[in-house]
């Protein structure tokens, strides 16, 4: 009995010491995953992911609470990059191959209130007070904030026009 208690206690003490020292010796800082993830996100803070901006999205991603396909502006490319970073599999199907859209301003209705101009996270809308506003195709992410805020519903989201340049084969239908 005594032997049992002492010998095991002795072993445990040694192991405890070794582990304690090892824990200290081999200590590594946890990687700044959240900030790295945030840096990968578009940073347009558009909220389409359902989180309060990219930071929230990054935290949710780091905690595994959100799928890597969460960010529509980022598109499949971002999803793949995130999946790679987090070491998970992506179901790109989940991105739903959403038709990409961009904002378009209807000249006849736009009153030039500049609300959309102020709202746009990427400065894709140009225009001045009381003047027709217009959308820069290259900068618009199709987030729809402008359409939401426009008092006259002059801004609508329209599918990006198909051209020979951006046309591509669709996935073959399969049984």
């Amino acid at each position: 009995m005594l032997i049992a208690v002492t010998s095991l206690t002795l072993i445990a003490t040694c192991l405890g010491l070794i582990l304690g020292i090892a824990a200290r010796r081999f200590h590594v800082e946890p990687p700044e995953l959240v900030s790295e993830l945030e840096a990968m996100l578009p940073g347009s803070q558009c909220g389409q992911c359902g989180f309060p901006g990219c930071n929230g999205a990054a935290e949710a991603l780091a905690d595994g609470l959100a799928p890597v396909t969460l960010c529509p502006p980022g598109g499949p490319a971002l999803a793949l990059a995130l999946a790679d970073k987090l070491g998970v599999q992506v179901e790109l199907g989940a991105m739903g191959e959403r038709e990409p859209t961009i904002a378009a301003v209807r000249e006849d209705i736009c009153i030039g209130c500049t609300k959309c101009f102020k709202e746009c996270p990427t400065d894709a809308i140009h225009g001045a007070m009381k003047q027709m506003h217009s959308v820069m195709k290259e900068a618009c992410t199709g987030c729809g904030k402008c359409a939401e805020i426009c008092p006259t519903e002059a801004v609508t989201l329209v599918p990006v026009a198909a051209t020979l340049g951006n046309w591509r084969w669709r996935e073959p239908a399969f049984a």
Binding site: L8, T9, G16, R24
Partner: protein
């Protein structure tokens, strides 16, 4: 008790960690030591009771007045170690129970063979086995009464060549789809009878060291 605050400070230190582990192990081993002490006797009793029950199954109740569990001789059957329990009535050996082993399909089969002074099988029971459920486990009395087919047999009944399963031209049934297990049991019973014939004189000559 240590205050929460000082605990926070202590926790990351190495000696504290080692001490905690040691403490846990100390308490655990102490608790187990006590438990071992408390259970040692009951366990021994339970095991003995077990043996007694299985011996009782292969010995007629009126054939002994000693405790064959304790009246045991360690012997060898070839390279198989066996335990020979001697049943006595009024100090006179009336029967033995040979606890032996056979090599079955799934591993070792433990069995007890009760043998009367007249070299007849009093009974056979399986004490442990790892045969396939549904196939080889029909040697258990709980599953089938196959083992009872040994009762009353002796080395001349059936004739020695027929001490085998039917498939091998013998007198004992095998189970459908499992020949290895019964073959092993039949062989072990036969070996026990032969061992008894060879050795019983020696065994009975040994006085039980009461």
């Amino acid at each position: 008790m240590i205050g929460n605050h000082s605990l926070e400070r202590l926790r990351p230190t190495i000696p504290f960690q080692a001490a905690m582990l040691a403490l846990t192990v100390m308490l655990a081993s102490a608790a187990l030591g006590l438990a071992d002490r408390a259970t040692r006797q009951p366990i021994a009793d339970a095991v003995a009771a077990d043996t007694r029950t299985s011996l009782a199954q292969v010995l007629p109740t009126d054939s002994y007045d000693n405790d064959p569990t304790d009246d045991v001789i360690d012997a060898r059957d070839g390279d198989v170690p066996v335990a020979v329990h001697v049943a006595r009535k009024g100090g006179v050996p009336t029967a033995v129970v040979i606890a032996t082993r056979a090599r079955g399909y799934g591993g070792e089969i433990g069995l007890v063979v009760g043998i009367s002074r007249g070299e007849r099988v009093l009974g056979v029971r399986i004490t442990r086995h790892a045969e396939t459920p549904g196939l080889g486990d029909k040697i258990e009395i709980a599953k089938s009464d196959w083992v009872t087919s040994f009762a009353g047999r002796h080395l001349a009944d059936p004739e020695p060549a027929k001490w085998a399963v039917r498939k091998d031209g013998g007198a004992f049934d095998q189970f459908a789809g499992a020949t290895i297990t019964p073959r092993a049991v039949v062989a072990a019973v036969k070996r026990s009878l032969e061992l008894y014939r060879r050795e019983h004189a020696t065994w009975f000559a040994l006085r039980k060291p009461s």
